[in-house]
Symmetry: D2
Subunit: 204 residues, 4 copies
Amino acid sequence: MNEPHTVLDKGWVQLEEMMGGDEAVIRGARICYQSTSSSSDADERLIRRLIRSEPKHNTVFEHAVFRFSVKCPIFVARQWLRHRIGTFNERSLRYCIAKREYYVPAERENLDAYQKHMERSFDLYQRLLEAGWRREQARGVLGTSVYTEFIWTVNAWSLMNWLSKRYHKSAQWEHRQYADAILGIFKEAMPITAAAFEEYVLKS
Amino acid sequence: MNEPHTVLDKGWVQLEEMMGGDEAVIRGARICYQSTSSSSDADERLIRRLIRSEPKHNTVFEHAVFRFSVKCPIFVARQWLRHRIGTFNERSLRYCIAKREYYVPAERENLDAYQKHMERSFDLYQRLLEAGWRREQARGVLGTSVYTEFIWTVNAWSLMNWLSKRYHKSAQWEHRQYADAILGIFKEAMPITAAAFEEYVLKS
Amino acid sequence: MNEPHTVLDKGWVQLEEMMGGDEAVIRGARICYQSTSSSSDADERLIRRLIRSEPKHNTVFEHAVFRFSVKCPIFVARQWLRHRIGTFNERSLRYCIAKREYYVPAERENLDAYQKHMERSFDLYQRLLEAGWRREQARGVLGTSVYTEFIWTVNAWSLMNWLSKRYHKSAQWEHRQYADAILGIFKEAMPITAAAFEEYVLKS
Amino acid sequence: MNEPHTVLDKGWVQLEEMMGGDEAVIRGARICYQSTSSSSDADERLIRRLIRSEPKHNTVFEHAVFRFSVKCPIFVARQWLRHRIGTFNERSLRYCIAKREYYVPAERENLDAYQKHMERSFDLYQRLLEAGWRREQARGVLGTSVYTEFIWTVNAWSLMNWLSKRYHKSAQWEHRQYADAILGIFKEAMPITAAAFEEYVLKS
């Protein structure tokens, strides 16, 4: 569960730390009703009802929290960081020098021209730095297929919201690969919640 | 650190779970600069600089997350739940029957009349329930000195913001007692961050 | 639309100001696609599709913003202020003296005892203040059926989320009366969005 | 106030709509204390005290809301969209074809090589589209100095937080130009709040 999972040609996601899990959902729900768990079966039924029922019971899922480490192309990161409920810290190209790593799609026309161009971007980037351009300005020549890295702390409710958007068939294919990897981790980390979410939300 | 801490006459706070801590702040900060920790001294200096410097670096502190369990008077809870960055689940008086527990301030004029009145509130509450009033309506006779319980999941940045408001000398005395107890827990849980916060924010 | 609407026996809601409306939703949606409105029919179809389709397009609805003024029992306000996306400012009983105004439900057993008790609460409150209790402490004897006032600034997406919870048949009856009044205002203020929301969300 | 303000070589900011202003701050503050404005002088002193005093009174400033339209390089937008309290809708390069518009810094070594490279990026982008690459993938060759457009709805408190970070001397020069333009608009739109903010926050 905590190993890095490879995504695309050079990216990955990794679960660094978590708290709560399915137990925290139960904790949040039971305090409202001042009830106690009679059995793990009752707990499972409770979580499934909380996922399924309208209106939504978002808060109880917010007591479970994850921190992921991610490496992905900038164009994926740009969509990802739009999700406002959660915390990101990303490698800064104001302070760091960009690594020569960019996404190369699978076999497709003009792939050679694409790769040559990306290499030339890095050559120019290097040249501008040597000529005294500031890093924050020189980076402007690097395309958004360049890889970036960030960590993401997110609660289970916000994670499910992200999944419902990025695992969706309308999402960009490259982003879906990350959603797929994180869904796999989520299923190991919170098996009851994730199963109910898959059944009642993702598949509906 | 994880034991219940008594607050006021019948209340308490308890740290139920946490993730991250000072290490998560370092993790968040180092990824931006792609730097590595040279020593624990360097880490401490980094955290102190992040707390002190303007503009604020809030995100790196959001990777540390706590879940507290709290019992306090409703009038304290009403202020507390105004803090929007974080998650609360509170015992519901729509679903649960209120317990006969209310806050009694220390020695002061008319304390007898106060206590008699609070007892009569619960007598009437009971009578209304027996007469078929719904719980959610009958609760209207219970004063806000009645105790409530909730759990609170909150990141370290939002916690410090809460402390800066509720530990402040302008805060309600009863609320300050909770801030004082939680500050004590925070100092055990994140010693470097909490020390810097006390020095540069609380005392300034 | 901007008049006060009476709710319960002594409460009200009032729209004080708004910006955006249906036009702001269109503005938000069209910039994504760099498209222009061909007709008001096309705009209406676009909004209806945005409300209906999965995954949700919340951001475009956040450009429409409302400020309401509300007077309601504290037990209603306690639920209302749990909604975190938006801004509340409430009359403070730390600084103001409570007005002798409390909610009286419609005909029901023991109503006399209820009213007598509420009156006695205010008598005691007055006596405690005269004996030198601080306002913030004396308020502890006042039940949550006492009326409070607040203003609420909220965007249309968060408002619809609130409506989906508080207009729901599982919501407390007293709170639903407020949801009903605000739904009426919403339908005048954003006719296309509100109609689509009613059809695809509230009624489903 | 509502005209477009040119920023950098091809960018701009424009205030599209607003609500509230200084009056809304007064409205929010006065409801807490149930006080009434005695004079515009008293109102001005109140706002100045709210900006200056600790702990911060953020909520009262959240009743003033702005919608801006912005055109800026992607590397500026990437920093800007990190600000989570507020709403963005950006032109999507999944759905729209990128315009051949990129930021050119003022006179500096290698500017010719820079411009030639950016032009070649667009040539290749065009070629990839013609070869059947999806827009969302072909955009990967375009550098982050390419211009993008978005609208931003933000309340005055969050706007001041953004200004305190992006108008700061440590901010990227290009981003500061946008902060400077928006500060100018803010001063026209909320003269009392903006003056107090400049005096007590920006200059301290």
